[in-house]
């Protein structure tokens, strides 16, 4: 598939342009903040000559384009500067907090897709009968509920009223120690041969990832249902049905694939939204991830940390979208042609 490869390379090229633009945007955002960045970083009690030396070292006396050059050079080396809250390198902080967030987003992003497709197909199969009404009715309410409200309600219901699931206290209960390999707790626990620790880690993941994924799951289900119904009315389906192909074969072979594609193609956006909403969900469930770190950075005006997180999220988002586009191109031959034109 050479055309596929060319398309991917072209998109990678654009992705890098977008990333440079993103870095300029973030840099400008940082520099429009009123106040002296050196003074902000060192605090009000630092003597003036120390602040001056810091200013010199960070190139704050240079013009903005020169400052951008030095900033970008450091960022490309993976150096986002020091965090004023943790007093450590932002990259070091990110390395420590990133795996917890990734694990959460993976659990919130990937398994629910299958539920969404299932619900969507069920809704289309039982159109205007009670399973369809039930799914549609609940999807209206679930979609209308902001993610942070889910998190708060789950905390209230399963954390306090019916305390059957761990809701506060990080990723693992006391008493378990899991040696880090991948940074993903469930996987690491399985690798080290502790199924009960893996179960415990999973129980910790359940509420926050459910809070993050509910809205998207129902939205994807709605989308799948409406495309199933739309494609179901098309001529080629009528044709294969009239040729005597059994209904379930028609559904499985001819209807599902084109109907799933739109759902898959919005997944990139959903993952981005999950990363965004993780900011509040991690704070609510006290999840030791990057988003909780970033939330503290935002509230503490820790500029370097905010920049680091936003840049990393931008890269992840662009890569996810690229991946999603490739999956869509593999699923849908029409996309390959229209893109390569």
């Amino acid at each position: 598939m050479p055309s596929l490869l060319v398309t991917i390379l072209k998109r990678l090229g654009w992705a890098s342009v977008v990333l440079v633009g993103l870095s300029i945007l973030i840099f400008s955002l940082v520099r429009i903040i009123p106040g002296d960045p050196a003074r902000l970083a060192l605090g009000p009690t630092a003597p003036e000559e120390v602040v001056e030396r810091y200013r010199e070292r960070m190139h704050y006396n240079e013009s903005l384009p020169v400052q951008y050059y030095f900033w970008l050079r450091d960022v490309l080396r993976g150096d986002f500067g020091l965090s004023t809250v943790t007093k450590r390198g932002v990259s070091q902080d990110l390395g420590e907090f990133m795996p917890a967030t990734l694990e959460l987003v993976i659990w919130a992003g990937i398994p629910p897709i299958f539920f969404a497709l299932l619900l969507g197909v069920l809704g289309a199969m039982y159109k205007n009968r009670w399973p369809d009404y039930l799914i549609r009715f609940s999807s209206y309410i679930i979609i209308a509920t902001p993610t942070f409200v889910w998190a708060v309600l789950f905390l209230l219901i399963f954390g306090y009223w019916l305390p059957i699931l761990p809701s506060i206290g990080g990723r693992l209960s006391m008493g378990f120690t899991v040696p880090p390999v991948t940074g993903l707790m469930v996987l690491d626990a399985l690798i080290s041969g502790q199924p009960d620790a893996a179960w415990d880690a999973f129980a910790h993941l359940l509420l926050p990832s459910l809070a993050l994924s509910l809205g998207h799951t129902m939205q994807e289900a709605r989308l799948t249902r409406s495309y199933m119904l739309e494609n179901g009315g098309k001529d080629y389906i009528t044709m294969v049905t009239s040729q005597g192909v059994p209904r379930d074969v028609v559904n499985r072979k001819f209807l599902l694939r084109p109907s799933v594609i739109p759902t898959v193609s919005i997944m990139g956006l959903d993952i981005a939204a999950i990363f965004g909403n993780a900011f509040l969900v991690e704070t609510i469930f006290n999840w030791p991830g990057m988003s909780r770190y970033a939330m503290n950075a935002i509230l503490g005006k820790d500029i370097n940390a905010v920049c680091g997180v936003v840049m990393v999220l931008g890269v992840i988002f662009i890569m996810t979208n690229l991946l999603v586009d490739v999956i869509v191109m593999i699923l849908d031959p029409r996309m390959r042609q229209s893109r390569s034109k």
Binding site: L29, Y140, T145, P146, V152, G276, N277
Partner: protein
């Protein structure tokens, strides 16, 4: 003239009310607008919307006098919830009424000049804004600025216009080659006329649909920023900040979180259903 206008209205209503659930949406929206307009004139304790202290009645559970309970300093939760509606709705309307025209202009200029450098620059700029998870960008902007309602609206607007740019770009880049646009160009019609008189009417129904469908999302986004402490500041009430206050006193004072949460859910539900109805009415069913 009068008759045909009535006829259009009647037909629109028939289309809108095809699905009964969108009628419920209209009723919810109308109810919230009504409450928002009346605000302090209708709530049981108007002075509780601002900074009011009544320690004798602090942290009271729901009762006849205070159906949704009272908060830590004795203010009536029901009054504060209703008192927050005006700003919530205003925020949604202002954000959409600013971001939609900006997005339209960017998208239409890029789409009309498809393939030229202007198109590349404008649409890549749009992509950059779309490359950051929306809430993250809004949080970052709102945190850099002073936390208040105007700045949270600004933050949401900055991340919202690119969607309208995408929409207008799609429509205008396909209209560009239509005969009536080419004819207008050949007869020397000025660019503003082409954009506002030829292209805009074709975008209008999908833009309006998107605006009504987006209302719920903007409300969610505003509530989220407010929950993070970056929206309307105390003592003024906002649904998000009321919930974040209440979380600290769960589970004993559950009414502090549960009632504002229900208010947000019903509000967003109403606007989502209303948006679906408008989309049925204008025939721009996208999803």
């Amino acid at each position: 003239m009068d008759e045909s206008w009535k006829e259009t209205l009647k037909r629109s209503w028939l289309k809108y009310s095809e699905s009964k659930i969108t009628v419920l949406g209209l009723a919810i929206v109308a109810g919230f607008v009504f409450l928002a307009l009346l605000g302090e004139r209708i709530v049981p304790y108007p002075e509780h919307i601002g900074s009011f202290v009544d320690f004798a009645n602090a942290s009271g559970a729901p009762s006849g006098a205070h159906p949704f309970g009272t908060d830590l300093i004795g203010r009536d939760v029901l009054s504060r919830i209703v008192g927050s509606f005006r700003n919530t709705l205003l925020m949604g309307v202002i954000v959409l009424c600013i971001s939609a025209p900006i997005g339209f202009m960017v998208g239409v200029i890029a789409g009309y000049n498809k393939g030229k450098p202007v198109d590349t620059v404008l649409m890549r700029l749009t992509d950059i804004f779309l490359a950051i998870p929306p809430l993250v960008l809004a949080l970052a902007i709102a945190s850099v600025l002073e936390p208040n309602m105007t700045n949270s609206m600004l933050a949401i607007t900055v991340m919202w216009w690119p969607w309208y740019a995408r929409l207008a770009y799609g429509v205008s880049s396909s209209l560009r080659t239509e005969n009536y646009i080419i004819y207008a160009e050949l007869t020397g019609v000025k660019l503003p006329h082409i954009i506002f008189r030829e292209i805009l009417p074709n975008c209008l129904s999908s833009m309006l649909t998107k605006m009504t469908l987006d209302m719920g999302y903007v409300i969610i986004m505003g509530a989220t920023l407010s929950y993070a402490g970056l929206g309307e500041q105390a003592p003024k009430p906002a649904l998000g900040s009321m919930i974040s206050q209440g979380v600290k006193y769960m589970p004993e004072q559950w009414w502090l979180t549960v009632f504002p949460a229900i208010a947000i859910i019903v509000l967003v539900l109403g606007f989502n259903l209303f948006g679906d109805g408008i989309s049925n009415m204008l025939g721009t069913d996208e999803s």
